[in-house]
């Protein structure tokens, strides 16, 4: 084990770690390019490197990109990756209050804390925690997805029917592609490119980057400014640190939650921050601030996403089950270097594993430092005139949507998604349930198919206490929130009468 750690700290490994993190942050920060895309793009580049170096660099890209997405979310209100949506709510609101350096700093440090905790879990707990992943079968995945969707639907402030519509819309989008039982095409309308479904990157980039880019162009044309993206002052580490100390238990909770959710394949970096954010709002003393510029909310979101990264690598390395979309791409990185994920990986190549773990820890430390002191320099790039930013965002969005599948068709998917997002915004249907349902819809349906194929009726579910438990919690949340909404409705009516 110690040789592994020593190798990780060698100059070459550290160089690759730094390179990976920097590249990852840049890729994540550029709206239109996502973490998954970054990893996929650079996997072939690592082919010629030694396995541990390649993996450390890719881990750096993964972690860096997840953090980098927050930078553009905070400064431009364009989430660089879908995981940064929640950070964007809080961070951009803080930026509007002139607290951009604080937001960037909190993002960096919180992200570092989350990552480090998950790195520790990765190092010491992988075999045990991996077993946890095995006890989750199809019914549990169904329960988890329903749970995530219910949270998205009931916790948003918008009218419940708008949220539910959004969720169903997302499920429809997810069902485009191949029927999981018969293997035949569905909702394809003759486009063979849709056999693998609507491309996730194309749709998400279309939802989040293009409409915002259009807003930027509009602002450039009219000369209106929404956020003064001027010089971003240096982050004051002390200020950031004191915020994090104040929120230390919150950070710990969010890290554990993030790691745990990362281990579960059905819940990835997109849903995790929402769940953590919602949980912390319930526990917070200042719940009304959440969503409008709460530092604690930002800590919760960032910590949990970052912890999710490490968590998703646990079942990946131990069992070959990816805990998230980006982790799935990581499998490719492993097999490219001849490493087959599974129990024997630790037995046959322990030195590679330990080097990787130590490297992952280093990656997170580096990310924190680079974020704390370097984010403002990256922010300088965003000082460019809005029109220029918008043009390049559009260019990178098109390129990102194209490059994932090297397919011009996906660009049209992206444009259509942008149109959909604008339409939904005009009508008043929130985009978040749509996004989550779209990302999770495939998992839901496939596992429902498996469950139905396996079960001989209801008795099957009684054998799966875990699934029943999750369903019970979900039901409880629905009941509680309906109660809350009815109560609010009654108060409105009383107030109106009075």
């Amino acid at each position: 084990m110690w040789e592994g750690i020593a190798t990780a700290l060698s100059a070459l490994s550290l160089t690759f770690a730094v390179l990976g993190v920097v590249l990852g942050v840049i890729i994540g920060a550029i709206p239109g390019l996502t973490a998954t895309f970054g990893i996929a793009l650079l996997i072939p580049v690592t082919f010629l490197m030694a396995p541990e170096h390649g993996m450390i660099m890719l881990a750096g890209i993964y972690a860096g990109a997840i953090y980098g997405g927050s930078i553009s979310a905070i400064l431009l209100n364009i989430p660089g990756t879908p995981a940064s949506i929640v950070s964007g709510w809080e961070g951009h609101a803080l930026a509007r209050q002139g607290k951009a350096p604080l937001a960037l700093g909190i993002s960096a440090l919180a992200s570092g804390v989350g990552g480090i905790i998950s790195a520790i879990a990765l190092m010491f707990l992988t075999p045990t925690l991996a077993q946890l992943a095995l006890s989750f079968g199809a019914p549990e995945y169904v329960a988890l997805v329903v749970f995530s969707l219910v949270i998205a639907v009931v916790m948003l402030e918008t009218p419940i029917f708008a949220n539910i519509t959004g969720a169903f819309l997302g499920l429809i989008l997810a069902s485009v592609g191949v029927d999981p039982v018969n293997g035949t095409g569905r909702f394809i309308f003759g486009f063979y490119q849709l056999f693998s479904g609507l491309n996730v990157v194309a749709v998400l980039v279309g939802f989040f980057c293009l409409p915002q880019a259009i807003v930027l162009v509009a602002e450039a044309i009219t000369g209106v400014e929404s956020v003064a993206v001027g010089r971003v002052a240096a982050t004051k580490p002390r200020e950031v640190l004191s915020q994090l100390v104040k929120d230390r238990w919150l950070a710990l909770r969010a890290s554990v939650l993030g790691t745990g959710l990362g281990i579960l394949p059905a819940v990835g970096p997109e849903s995790t921050p929402l769940i953590a954010h919602t949980l912390e709002r319930r526990l917070s003393k200042e719940p009304e601030k959440f969503g409008k510029g709460s530092e604690s909310g930002l800590v919760a979101a960032e910590t949990s996403i970052s912890a999710n990264v490490g968590g998703s690598l646990i079942p990946l390395l131990a069992l070959g089950i990816p805990g998230s979309g980006a982790a799935a791409v990581f499998i490719g990185a492993l097999t490219l270097h001849g490493l087959r994920p599974g129990p024997l990986l630790f037995v046959e190549r322990p030195e590679v594993m330990y080097t990787f773990f130590a490297g992952f820890l280093a990656v997170n430390l580096l990310k924190t430092v680079i974020g704390l002191y370097g984010a403002r320099y990256l922010a300088r790039l965003l000082i460019l005139p809005r029109g220029v930013i918008a043009a390049f965002v559009i260019f990178f969005s098109i390129f990102g949507a194209y490059a994932v599948d090297t397919n011009l068709f996906n660009i049209w998917v992206m444009f259509a998604s942008a149109f959909l997002a604008i339409g939904l915004g005009a009508v008043g249907i929130p985009i978040l349930p749509v996004v989550l349902a779209f990302i999770l819809g495939g998992v839901l349906e496939r596992n429902m198919a498996i469950t139905l194929a396996r079960s001989d009726g209801f008795a099957y579910f009684l054998e799966r206490p875990l699934a029943l438990g999750i369903f019970a919690v979900t039901l409880m949340i629905v009941v509680l929130s309906t109660w809350r909404r009815l109560g609010r409705l009654r108060r409105h009516k009383d107030a109106a009468k009075a």
Binding site: P44, L134, P180, D405, F409, I450
Partner: protein, 327 residues
């Protein structure tokens, strides 16, 4: 004197055998290649086909002195890449597809792909990866041989994992029809999901490639029952082939055949050169070592054998799909 000439003849014979010389090596055309040759892979980076292509490219660059680039044209579960190779790629010898059958054939037969089998020109085979039928060691059927499992299956419906409309399903259907049993098919997305479910005890058996289950067989969690193809898997000498057990799953149709293919219409001199050069690389020691290290199977075959096999497997697949009422 006599002994010496005998000896020399002997050496010449052995040398000839040892170096397995096919017909005279093709001359490289004067104007080709002037820029890197693209190897098109229809699947994401890191997958088996992709690793095959990259390992090959690395060795081929050294052996032939030609630069290769691996391009991943992913999308539509392979459709996009196949369509590109069939219709959009220029037939100038700079684009070579790395294809895995019967996935490409199912695109044509089951998914109405905008191309036909005649739109591709296969030039050399890389490998045939058979499908392994595997069970969990700790389950009821873990210690049984194939025949015993079939007896058991007659009374207890087995839950068998598969991918819809894929070869993994077809192989299990062969078994059903040959032995008159009925399985309960559980749909998964990809081979690995089925393997995980098998490990967790959620299904009783599944069909997959050897690389997915190698380490579980080595540490005893999973037990291989039978393999497709004409001969036993080199790493599973004790596992019978389906053919031995009376289930007709021989030939190269029921497994992943990976081969290089050109778009139709490449000039003859370039085509012949590529076919020969690639074969030489595939038969070289350097490649054998590289593939062994990467855990890839290697069963090269030349142009004629590849073309014959291509036509044969297409026919076999078409027949099967018609018999099972899918076409």
């Amino acid at each position: 004197m006599f002994h010496k000439s005998l000896g020399l003849t002997g050496v010449a014979l052995i040398a000839g055998l040892g170096f397995g010389v096919p017909a005279a090596a093709q001359d490289q055309p004067a104007d080709f290649p002037q820029r890197p040759i693209d190897l098109i892979v229809m699947y994401p980076a890191g997958g088996a086909v992709d690793v095959t292509a990259r390992t090959f490219a690395q060795v081929a660059e050294e052996e032939l002195g030609i630069e290769f680039r691996v391009e991943n044209r992913v999308g539509g579960a392979g459709m996009v890449g196949h369509t590109y190779l069939a219709h959009d790629a220029e037939a100038d010898g700079y684009t070579v597809g790395v294809i895995a059958n019967p996935f490409m054939f199912t695109d044509i037969l089951l998914r109405d792909g905008p191309f036909t089998a005649d739109d591709f020109d296969p030039i050399v085979t890389v490998s045939f990866d058979p499908v392994v039928w595997v069970v969990n060691a700790e389950s009821e059927i873990g210690a049984m041989g194939f025949d015993e499992i079939m007896d058991y299956a007659a009374d207890h419906t087995l839950q068998v994992g598969m991918n819809p409309n894929s070869m993994f399903l077809f192989v299990s259907e062969f078994i059903e029809r040959a032995r008159g049993v009925t399985f309960d098919f559980i749909p998964f997305d990809g081979g690995r999901e089925g393997v995980i479910a098998l490990l967790a005890g959620d299904v009783d058996a599944t069909a997959t490639f050897y690389t997915e289950i190698e380490q579980y067989i080595e540490n005893g969690d999973l037990v291989p029952v039978a393999v497709t193809g004409d001969s036993r898997h080199p790493l599973l000498p004790d596992t019978p082939t389906f053919s031995e057990l009376g289930v007709a799953a021989g030939g190269q149709t029921w497994g992943a055949t990976r081969f290089f293919a050109l778009p139709v219409g490449v000039p003859e001199d370039r085509r012949a050169f590529l076919a020969q050069a690639f074969l030489d690389v595939l038969e070289s020691d350097a490649l054998a070592d590289a593939f062994a290290e990467a855990g890839l199977t290697l069963t090269p075959a030349d142009l004629e054998a590849t073309q014959a096999n291509y036509a044969e497997t297409f026919q076999a697949l078409q027949d099967f799909l018609e018999e099972t009422g899918r076409l």
